[in-house]
């Protein structure tokens, strides 16, 4: 039975008042391990203009021997937002990272703004030749776009390589719910696979059955292979009234032996909200990684990472 011992918040954007592009939010942590440090990519936002946010992705390096100690932080976001009319004009969030030979490859959600609904998202790809410090986009358009069964809100990519195959876990929108205030999307977890990371074949299957309601929203499908089993930690929330503790994000769990058929058992996620503090209302956007014989989870707390991300360490077995 997994049990995650919380180490606490390790990154708070409010500690960096001098950085203009990092006002609030440090969302969707994703790790890249180096000899002496662990680079954590996260998405952040400058101060909103007219109440409207944009997102960028940047990184922060932690000491490999002490993951609470910051060694270095990016000088600027890893990618510019897109040109007028492009899919990523208003945001690069979230970002997932993988090594590929001597390069580092990023998959990210690119945000545009719409009239009838507030936004749409498609998945882009970018490559780094300098160990993940800066990236160049593969092209001005998305690498995974909309299709008959995945009509909008393609986001939350998590890139993995198992054997010689690339797998991309992501979310796809199912519907928009009209409310008196603003339309809210419903999205659930999907998957595609590829031989080269460029040309993708969608599985066109919902991987995780909804549990708390039919319109449950699922995000951050973080897949981790250990002892012959694929483990997925993800987060889920209600489709409406999700901005507080009651309907807000929690971390769920599923396992699989073939990456396509998953058994959901949230009772085994081993992590929940705290009694008080930065993660007392929500736990969200899990990312699981192994380092020097230990297994860790990074995750977001209240307000989906407005005040940063934290770290937990596994005790027991997955």
């Amino acid at each position: 039975m997994a049990n995650w011992n919380k180490i606490g918040r390790i990154f708070n954007p409010s500690d960096y008042v001098e950085i203009q592009w990092l006002d609030q939010f440090a969302q969707a942590p994703a790790t890249l391990v180096f000899d002496d440090f662990v680079r954590v990519y996260f998405s952040c936002r400058p101060k909103p203009i007219d109440g409207q946010f944009v997102s960028d992705t940047a990184w922060v390096d932690f000491d490999r021997k002490d993951l609470t100690k910051v060694l270095n932080i990016a000088k600027k976001p890893i990618l510019p937002r897109g040109d007028k009319g492009t899919f990523d004009e208003f945001g690069v969030y979230p970002t997932s990272i993988v090594r590929n030979e001597d390069k580092v490859v990023a998959y990210y959600g690119g945000w545009t703004r719409c009239e009838a609904v507030p936004f749409n998202v498609a998945i882009g790809r970018a490559t780094s030749s300098d160990n993940g410090e800066s990236f160049t986009k593969e092209g001005p358009g998305p690498i995974i776009s909309y299709s008959p069964e995945e009509p909008f809100v393609m986001s939350g990519p998590k890139i993995r390589k198992f054997g010689s195959t690339w797998y991309l876990f992501y979310i796809a929108g199912k519907k928009w719910i009209s409310t008196s205030r603003i339309a809210e999307p419903v999205y659930q977890i999907r998957m595609a696979y590829s031989d080269d990371g460029i040309t993708w074949k969608k599985e066109n299957k919902d991987l995780i059955p909804p549990r708390i309601e039919e319109d449950e929203c699922q995000a951050s499908p973080d897949v981790f292979f250990k002892d012959g089993v694929y483990h997925m930690f993800f987060c889920y929330r209600k489709s409406l009234n999700f901005r507080g503790k009651e309907g807000g994000y929690r971390i769920g769990y599923a396992f699989s032996t073939d990456l396509i058929n998953w058994t959901r058992d949230d009772s085994k996620s081993g992590i929940d909200v705290s009694e008080s503090g930065w993660d007392s209302e929500m736990v969200a956007y899990p990312h699981v990684f192994e380092l020097d014989g230990e297994i860790y989870m990074m995750y977001l707390g209240n307000d989906v990472g407005r005040e940063g991300f934290g770290l937990a360490k596994l005790s027991g077995k997955l």
Partner: protein, 317 residues
């Protein structure tokens, strides 16, 4: 000597209103042959509560010599998409294609954006009743933006040649920011192939060289095989000023090819762009090419993007 003989306007949407809430526009006429004549699909427009247009697909049936209207659609042929979908704010144009006992409709779906006016993608809907009603293959598009075709994929025209589906379509290359107007889109014609009409391979190149500069906008490619050559008609315009200034507006363009891949642009072919009269004097656009009993036939729109209907022409040798 080849000559495009113009027969004038054959349909005026202000004279025959197919839907009570659509008063004007019959854009991008496209043909499906039916037993006793031709079904011509087109896009007509409703004005929504915000004052903006919504394009709907309608049809009128003509007899075999286009002299008489013998039928019409009673309601939009394909409903617009639900909240947040790619075809929420309009379908324009639609390209019908007979595939065995079914009719495929390649649709160009419109959805409105904030920083630019619109985004488009190609959808597919299928009819089992001879093209009267269609069912969408899904809520989303079958052919959309990709790495190097980043937005405004649409105007798909599909035909089967040598057992392969060929699609000519357009994609956006840039949005021009300028102080006089809203951001202005620039788009070009490209080509893709498919074995089933649903999953497409793009070849990644534009088909038609620019004539009026790199910001030439090319639209509505339509292709037919006739007298041992592939013929393409399309329309092109300047990126800005094209709505009000007739010298910047849409013109008909022409290209010929031996293999359907490599095209020789020849906009003067048969005098295709010579106006027929008052109705197409300022603008000629949204062409559709098809052959029937050995004749090459053209439908196209005139002034104001087809606000007052479409006309007919035939190629004479």
């Amino acid at each position: 000597m080849v000559n495009w003989k113009k027969y004038g306007k054959i349909f005026d949407p202000t004279q025959l209103k197919v839907f009570s809430y659509c008063n004007e526009f019959a854009q991008s006429p496209q043909v499906l042959k039916i037993d006793n004549g031709f079904r011509i699909y087109y896009s007509t427009r409703e004005i929504d509560e915000t004052g903006k247009f919504l394009s709907h697909i309608a049809f009128v049936d003509f007899n075999k010599d286009f002299s008489k209207i013998i039928g019409k659609s009673e309601k939009p042929v394909i409903p617009l998409g639900g909240l947040g979908t790619f075809d929420e704010h309009g379908i324009f144009p639609i390209n019908p294609l007979k595939v065995e006992s079914e009719v495929y409709a390649y649709t160009c779906g419109w959805s409105r954006r904030k920083s630019v006016s619109v985004e488009t993608s190609t959808g597919l809907a299928i009819s089992k009743d001879g093209g009267k009603t269609f069912l969408k293959t899904g809520q989303g598009p079958i052919f959309s933006s990709s790495l190097n075709e980043p937005f405004l994929v649409g105007d798909s025209f599909v035909k089967k040649f040598n057992n392969k589906f060929h699609m000519w379509y357009i994609y956006g290359v840039r949005w021009l920011e300028n102080s006089q107007e809203e951001p202005a889109r620039v788009y070009k014609i490209a080509h893709a192939t498919s074995d089933d009409g649903m999953v497409w391979d793009r070849n990644g190149e534009t088909c038609i060289p620019d004539k009026i500069g790199e910001n030439e906008c090319q639209a509505l490619p339509s292709v037919e095989y006739h007298n041992d050559q592939y013929h393409m008609v399309f329309c092109y315009r300047h990126a800005m000023g094209f709505r009000k200034d007739p010298s910047k507006g849409y013109r008909l363009g022409y290209a010929l090819s031996d293999d359907g891949i490599h095209w020789e642009r020849n906009d003067d072919f048969g005098g295709i762009d010579i106006p027929n009269g008052e109705w197409d004097r300022d603008m000629r656009c949204y062409p559709h090419l098809f052959s029937h009993e050995g004749e090459l036939i053209l439908l196209y729109n005139g002034n104001e993007f087809g606000k007052y209907g479409f006309g007919l022409a035939k190629l004479e040798n």
